[in-house]
């Protein structure tokens, strides 16, 4: 490249078009991730068939409810900031983060340690443990990255970065969070509900 005047041509990208492009990019990324989680789900059916392990149903119901409620709150936060309601945005985002962390405590902290498939607690259910830990682990990794993303968004919002005319960062983090919830909407029945429960535990 020669060192010439760097003047972009007339007709750059309008903010409306930029927003469209950003949204499309985000959704394409989520499409890709859908294939990842779809593959994981397919592996679950290939290996477990119409069976599943005995898992704590109350725990399962609780963490699922928490994630759904967290989706409600981040939606609330997104609507709030699009209407310049910074206080509500901060409050709702904070609650979302809290619920996300509680989800991780519930799954990684509790389920992982108490599931009857855990060899450390005397379960030795091979493939049931493997798939359970893999599915919840991959999902939890995405919950964690979602929480971090929301943390960044909350921080920037606190500094006054977002408002009704500059909200895409919030929208993107919110859509990512909803996607993580969406994955769990399929993983929860696949792990806790579908098929006949076999093996140790009650």
């Amino acid at each position: 490249m020669t060192a010439e005047a760097h003047t972009p041509p007339a007709g750059g990208i309008s903010p409306a078009k930029r927003l469209q492009m950003n949204r499309l990019g985000l959704w394409l990324f989520l499409l890709s991730e859908t294939f990842l989680f779809g593959g994981i789900l397919a592996a679950r059916f290939y290996l477990w068939g119409a069976t599943r392990p005995h898992l704590d149903q109350i725990l399962g119901l609780s963490v699922t409810a928490m994630l759904l409620v967290s989706s409600f709150f981040i939606n609330r936060a997104e609507v709030a900031i699009k209407h310049d309601d910074r206080i509500e945005f901060l409050r709702s985002t904070g609650i979302t983060i809290l619920l996300g962390l509680l989800f991780l405590v519930g799954v990684v902290g509790l389920e992982w340690r108490t599931a009857p498939v855990n060899p450390a607690t005397g379960g030795e259910f091979g493939i049931y443990g493997d798939v359970l830990f893999f599915m919840t682990g991959m999902h939890a990794f995405h919950v964690l990255t979602g929480v971090i993303l929301l943390g960044v968004v909350a921080y920037l919002g606190y500094k006054g970065h977002f408002h009704a005319r500059n909200f895409y960062g919030v929208e993107a983090a919110a859509i990512y969070w909803h996607f993580v919830d969406l994955v769990w909407v399929f993983f929860y029945p696949a792990l806790y509900l579908m098929g006949v429960a076999v093996g140790p535990g009650h």
Binding site: R23, L61, A65, V69, N75, A164, R165, A174, H178, L193
Partner: protein
């Protein structure tokens, strides 16, 4: 972007809450399908798809992807 409108905001808050209630109802239906219908994979899949559609449409506003087709 039009000026923020407080009544529209309240309407959207309320809509979000209604969607949440629907999602929680679906979760309860899920649970009882497992208990009473032997965890029928088909029914649970259908419930999950409905759940997913609600989230994608109302929370993720997937339709904004297809609106405002730019310039040709």
């Amino acid at each position: 972007m039009s000026a923020p409108d407080p009544t529209k905001k309240k309407r959207l808050f309320r809509r979000g809450l209604i969607v949440l209630i629907a999602l929680l109802i679906l979760e309860v239906l899920d649970y009882y399908t497992a208990q009473l219908l032997n965890g029928s994979v088909t029914i649970l899949f259908v419930l999950a798809l409905i759940n997913a559609a609600l989230i994608a449409y109302y929370y993720m506003h997937i339709t904004t992807l297809f609106s405002e087709e730019g310039g040709h």
